[in-house]
């Protein structure tokens, strides 16, 4: 039996590949069995990755069936937050011309704007 079809070598190679896959899943990547179990559940997974304010914004836009929303300048200047919001709230889109604007709770709201509604992490204001 030559090298190409040698069964002992085949077993060794398969063993090496399994070790590589286990290393990949557990050390290079963060494999979690609980994620696997719920991998096809609707809307699952976001709470592991995204900030609470982004999750809340999605919840608000879905509940109110918003097609478009606007966010504060501080959020616009924060690339991380703005990109996560853009991706996660889709199909709701961002429209920077709207007068109703979502601010973070930690932000200072301009005097010219009035609070419409307060949420846990966000405030909706009209400017």
């Amino acid at each position: 039996m030559n090298f190409i079809y040698n069964k002992k070598i085949k077993i060794i190679l398969i063993f090496i590949i399994f070790i590589q896959l286990i290393f990949l899943a557990n050390f290079r990547l963060n494999f979690k069995i609980e994620i696997f179990k719920k991998s096809f559940v609707k809307n699952y997974g976001a709470n592991y990755i995204l900030p609470k304010s982004v999750l809340e914004l999605k919840f608000i836009s879905e509940r109110n069936n918003y097609k478009k929303i606007n966010v504060s300048n501080e959020i616009k200047d924060n690339d991380f937050l703005l990109q996560r919001i853009t991706e996660f709230i889709y199909p709701t889109k961002l429209d920077f011309d709207l007068s109703e604007i979502f601010y973070l709770q930690s932000e200072k709201i301009p005097f010219s704007c009035g609070k419409l509604k307060e949420f846990e992490y966000l405030v909706l204001v009209k400017c």
Partner: protein, 387 residues
């Protein structure tokens, strides 16, 4: 009827389902057909793996990939903000042409999107969206590539190649980025082109295989087009040097470039661009940085001194020096030279800070070349004509 599907036709059918999925997403009225098409992809893949696949370990490997993929969050920026965001947009808009709105420029709406369309089809089949399973679509696209590698490299050769592929691609098999797919589709295209160039007999049966892999390669990412052009230029160069112009092959090369040309025309027509192309790669940028020696040392450091690239290069040089195969060495060498030349031009003309750009992308863009060197190294050592 199933008896009519022979081994090669079956792989072509798998590739066709990926391409037709993309075509069906052009017009937003084919939701049912898209679902049926995806089921056909699954059917043809399972049919091949059960009936024709000699190396049954490939089935276990694919199941392991699916298992790992579904247990991972989509964390990397490229995966989330570019590829899966595109998938999500296709899923909700029912079309790949959503890009014309030029919405969210950070997500590169001008990038081709065959893989996101495939992942969106999986989501259509499931019926909803979440943050985990859509990236499985990208991992499933490895199936035709792995099948063809298994067909070309039988027995333990395939297992060695698979182990080296995991070494090179690693997490890109499952993490929602496309650099692993690019590498596999590129290497398979290179094998087919090499076969069509040097084993002139019976190349017609490979024409559809070439078209399938090459078209998908160019529609995955911009690097795919550059890599295919490197293969085509090398192939045409050999035809000219050997004075054996194969017009049929030339026409085939041209056809394989048509879909990406159409995509780029579409982007040009609607002025679709991304946050980087707004202050784009330019000749001025290239001319201003080409005289700075430090830029060359930086690019060399990141590209050439990449440990996986160096190991694959040593492996390939060893295989060629020991089992002398001049034609193969020249073919691979010219492809690498062209691609690395193209990468130097890209990095020298980058509008971004060069070290940041290299740091964020160099180890990914060199992967196709590392895998090419390992694959052709194994091919050279065992030196058996692929069929």
């Amino acid at each position: 009827m199933l008896k009519l599907i022979n081994k090669k036709n079956n792989i072509v059918l798998i590739l066709i389902t990926i391409i037709t999925n993309y075509i069906f997403f052009v017009i937003p009225f084919f939701e049912l057909i898209i679902k049926i098409n995806f089921i056909l992809f699954i059917f043809f893949s399972i049919f091949y793996l059960i009936i024709y696949e000699k190396n049954k370990f490939l089935i276990i490997f694919i199941i392991a990939l699916i298992f790992i993929n579904l247990g991972l969050l989509t964390e990397s920026w490229d995966a989330r903000s570019i590829w899966l965001f595109k998938s999500k947009q296709i899923f909700f808009e029912n079309t790949i042409l959503f890009s014309k709105n030029n919405y969210a420029q950070f997500s590169h709406p001008d990038y081709p999107n065959i893989a996101p369309a495939f992942s969106a089809a999986l989501a259509k089949l499931v019926g909803h969206w979440n943050e985990i399973f859509p990236k499985l679509g990208f991992s499933l696209m490895f199936i035709p590539g792995l099948i063809l590698l298994s067909k070309y490299f039988d027995g333990n050769k395939f297992l060695i190649l698979l182990s080296l592929t995991i070494f090179v691609i690693g997490k890109y098999f499952v993490n929602g980025e496309l650099d692993g797919l690019i590498s596999v589709y590129f290497v398979v295209s290179a094998l087919i082109i090499h076969k069509m160039n040097f084993n002139q007999n019976n190349i017609r049966s490979d024409e559809f295989l070439y078209l399938g892999f090459a078209v998908i390669l160019t529609l995955l990412k911009l690097e795919g087009l550059v890599l295919l052009l490197c293969l085509i230029i090398t192939s045409v160069f050999y035809m000219l040097v050997n004075k054996k112009t194969n017009y049929r092959l030339m026409i085939l090369f041209f056809i394989s470039l048509l879909p990406i040309i159409m995509w780029n025309l579409y982007c040009f027509y609607y002025d679709i661009n991304n946050a980087n192309t707004n202050y784009a790669y330019s000749l001025e940028g290239l001319l201003s940085s080409i005289y700075i020696f430090k830029n060359f040392t930086l690019i060399t450091e990141y590209l050439i001194f990449n440990e996986k690239f160096l190991l694959s290069l040593i492996f390939f040089v060893f295989s060629v020096s020991y089992y002398r195969e001049k034609k193969l060495f020249n073919f691979v060498f010219l492809v690498i030279l062209l691609y690395i030349g193209a990468l130097f031009i890209v990095y020298l003309s980058t509008p971004l800070e060069i070290e940041w750009h290299l740091n964020s992308s160099a180890n990914r863009v060199i992967k196709p070349i590392s895998l090419l060197l390992f694959t052709f190294g194994i091919y050279n050592i065992f030196n058996k004509n692929i069929n």
